[in-house]
Symmetry: C2
Subunit: 291 residues, 2 copies
Amino acid sequence: MAHLSFTGHDLDRDDHTRADPERLAAMRARGDARLLVLDGLLPQLDEHGLVISDLSGIGDDTELVYLGLRGGAPLFVQVPPEGDMRQAVTLRETMLALMRLDPAELAMFGGARSVADWHARHRFCARCGGHTQIAKGGWQRNCTSCEGQHFPRVDPVAIMLVENEGDLLMGRGKGWPDRAYSALAGFIEPGESIEEGVVREVLEEVGVKVRDVSYIASQPWPFPSQLMIGCHGFTDNRELTIDYTEIEDARWFTRAEVAEAMENGRHAESFIPPLPTAIASYMLTWWLEQD
Amino acid sequence: MAHLSFTGHDLDRDDHTRADPERLAAMRARGDARLLVLDGLLPQLDEHGLVISDLSGIGDDTELVYLGLRGGAPLFVQVPPEGDMRQAVTLRETMLALMRLDPAELAMFGGARSVADWHARHRFCARCGGHTQIAKGGWQRNCTSCEGQHFPRVDPVAIMLVENEGDLLMGRGKGWPDRAYSALAGFIEPGESIEEGVVREVLEEVGVKVRDVSYIASQPWPFPSQLMIGCHGFTDNRELTIDYTEIEDARWFTRAEVAEAMENGRHAESFIPPLPTAIASYMLTWWLEQD
């Protein structure tokens, strides 16, 4: 079975330390404390993988997130000067760098990127506009002016394989590489379940009604901090009414076309399949393995 | 089968109108436009259910969220003066009022409460501290000082039934009613899948390792805006090491005890089961129906 990318980190998140300022300070002062070095929010790699340094040169008031214990040693990441809301599809260099990481490193980078980026974009209190400061080892920010407490965001996204008579519905977003198709997806909104999100998104984007939604798998997607929730469903309606303000195209693919694309990757004839780091790639592999 | 509370709203969310200011203004001006009337963030009920009024008396610059079309008529909710971060367990009156709603109304109230509360707590830009204003019919807020765009939060929470030799592990939070027990739960963090969140939370709270996590069902929980993701897993370890900073107690319950509690509700002898509006109630019903 394929691997779910951005899962399988080898950190002990050691949440008991987060809430204890003394214990946290002691972790930071330890000789074996380490820093995951990012270039802004990009991964920085050497011949061994992600660059990890000691904490020398890090001032006491530098905002660090405590990621947890790795091989028993405390690991931190620094809050960068600027956040980043660009779409992952525009981060070609990042995506290529990610392919060089082993699965546990990729997962560690993903979580670190999400939380560091969140800090950089939440230096002010949404409630009162005051300054916020890092708290709980980087798993919270508190307002310095009001009682506001703020927590890292994780945005659940429903992503779905929709099937009709053995064919699969996929679409392509604006600005995607030529001939690239993937599973339809969208943010789950307040007031709906995962399954209701699947049905609404597909109806909005291509005008068909989905039934019998089931869950496949989940993985994080750190651009900036999505929880991708992979689902499968059926539709009895093949006729698409595409909302071109949301997507660039959508169409049906045969099982043979999906198999060919997954076999040949970016050299495929039928369509360019999603990157292996995307949960859509895992879902297509899963689907091809079903009866 | 039990119903998943807060699901099954009967709104067409009509997202195409959100992004179109003219269409949105026309919706607001329609004679059949209606307002879901909240008392702050509490539901307001009359003999028919939720109180719905016309828009007379609502000024043009009042912040309204466009919830969508209900029976063809546009429905709005007003952003209240104050948000609310109290825990649902402290909102006894709200919980009792909710029990009087039919399922579609409950779901409509839940979504409206979450998004209205989010607006009230996000009048400032987390990026720069500037004022934000409502956009896209209430499904976005934009900063008036920088390029910041902000979207309603939905916080995914993993909630899990953990099983060992046919018994079920449940816990109770601080401040819960006497003898009340429910499934363990916790927020999914950046950098982990649903399944990894389940394993981490159980390990943190009671010190046992969970394997073979599977998905059961999901529902929203609008206090303030969680997506509850119900899972099941097994553990080979019955010995609990409880983190009393996080929970007040946890213990194993036999199938007979769970059945008795679900049968007798708050008059049960074994323990007080979760409210029917909680996904934990659905999950326990589901579990009792398994072989």
